[in-house]
Amino acid sequence: MKTFHQTMALAACFATIMAIEPARSDEILVSAAASLTDAFNDIGKAYSAAHPGTVVRFNYGASGALQQQIMLGAPVDVFASASPKEMDALDAAKRLDPGTRVNFAGNRLVLIVPSGGAATHWADLRAPSVRRIAISNPDSVPSGRYAKETLTKRGLWTAVEPKMVLGENVRQTLTYVAGGNVDAGIVFATDAQIEKRRVKIVDEAATGKDHSAIVYPVAVITRSPNSSGARQFVSFLITPAAQAILERYGFARSAGSSAIKPGLSVPHRKPIVRSSASKR
């Protein structure tokens, strides 16, 4: 019987553990594109330093997967996407807090090989020596979609499609290349920079010619559990301090301006964001 009582005591402990509620009101949950991982980790620290007592949690993943989670009702405060498509879909579904959407960064798409890899430019992807190419899944990952656009524009897609290995987010694609498990890969320039020692950038896609401009929009999600914190975090992203961190990781300041829709473009120094989206 002694063991039985011990079991009951253990069950009581479990009940106590269960009662601990991890979500707090001074927390901001940010769902962000995987390519933002390192920059946002730093920005989160800078934000917490400027707002003591506030914890910023990040949920990194493929922008498309994060969009789906929000559609299904994930309790997210802020969404930062690697492309406008996911944000547009959430906007159409009325999941964005009107007037909070803003473009805060830009990026470039590059062709990488494992250090010591043979390919040196886009056309080399046809070569038989390049047996496997990693891109991200174009259905749910922006970098994969831009990669497919680029390969299609360059007339390579049908030739290289059988060689494709699909990553579920851009960092997985990067890992495939860095580990030397594929012969080439297509990721954002900022991702390639993270694995400087193990991957080599050999070619770059031409923005506007190969693919549409790579713009990162961010917005507060409707029914955000911490909407005031969310708004503050979004405003923080366009402050010089946050922009400097993004720049350090290789992101462009608010992207190629020609591609930004009028009214959505962001003044760097103005603290709160005005956009056409607010006047629906």
């Binding site: 019987m1 063991t3 039985f4 079991t7 069950a11 402990c13 479990f14 009940a15 553990i17 269960m18 601990i20 991890p22 979500a23 949950l29 995987a34 991982t37 949690r57 990040f58 949920n59 990194y60 993943g61 989670q69 299904l72 009702g73 994930a74 309790p75 997210v76 990553g167 579920e168 987010n169 960092r171 997985q172 990067l174 890992t175 860095a178 580990g179 694995e195």
Partner: protein, 230 residues
């Protein structure tokens, strides 16, 4: 190795999720197991039994998708649960606990049924004819004879809940600090190429599995020894 507060947070979360799952499973599983071991046969019992055991063989993603339909706003039932009942379980640790419960329930029922089967019906009937109350029977016959089996059931279900991946990913996502349990943290670490972290999680999960399985093995040996004595 890479153990620090941020790599250990998935461990605490996993323990919280798996323990909560046990609280959900225990009452339900006990009733179901007792009924399967000692309940009266009726047409369709086999069907109910199969339904209860289904998560044992269904791909976890299938279970996850069912739960997504049930708990999300995609269906009328889910909408009602969310908006009228106010149940917001998707992408919360409570949602992860529900996913883990559904996946671990069959393992609990199975093992507990075997435990209850060691309680011979004749003994209970003898007890009743001698005037023992049902509570006395529970205290002096049923619990002493089956608690080892029940503990084994709990341990196995706990380990299964701790290792749940597929259904949890679909229902709770993989939100660090909120729903990213150990197996999900392992997957995220591998995806992102954080190898040291991945090794740490792998070792942790393997040790837990070994300890649980080892202790269940000990219980089973004791049960066997107990039978031999009789």
């Amino acid at each position: 190795m890479a153990f620090n507060s941020s790599t250990l947070s998935p461990l605490w979360l996993s323990l919280q999720v798996a323990s909560s799952a046990m609280m959900l499973i225990f009452p339900m599983g006990l009733l179901a197991a007792w009924w399967l071991a000692h309940g009266r046969d009726f047409p369709g019992k086999g069907v109910v039994e199969t339904l209860l055991m289904l998560p044992l063989v269904l791909p976890p993603t299938v279970v996850g998708f069912y739960l997504l339909l049930l708990l999300g706003r995609g269906t009328a039932l889910g909408q009602w649960l969310n908006d009228s009942v106010g149940l917001r379980l998707l992408f919360t640790w409570q949602g992860a606990a529900i996913a883990a419960s559904v996946m671990a329930l069959p393992l609990f029922i199975r093992t507990a049924t075997a435990g209850f089967a060691t309680v011979e019906r004749e003994l209970l009937e003898v007890g009743r004819t001698l005037g023992a109350s049902e509570i006395a029977l529970l205290q002096h016959v049923i619990v002493p004879m089956s608690y080892r089996g029940l503990l084994a059931a709990l341990a196995l279900a706990f380990a299964r809940a701790l290792g749940e991946f597929g259904a949890t990913l679909m229902v709770a996502g993989s939100i660090p600090g909120r729903t990213q349990t150990l197996p999900l943290a392992l997957y995220a670490a591998v995806q992102a190429g954080r190898d040291r972290e991945a090794v740490a999680y792998t070792v942790l999960l393997s040790v837990v599995a070994f300890v649980v399985l080892g202790s269940v093995g000990l219980y089973e040996k004791r049960i066997a020894a107990g039978r031999a004595e009789r």
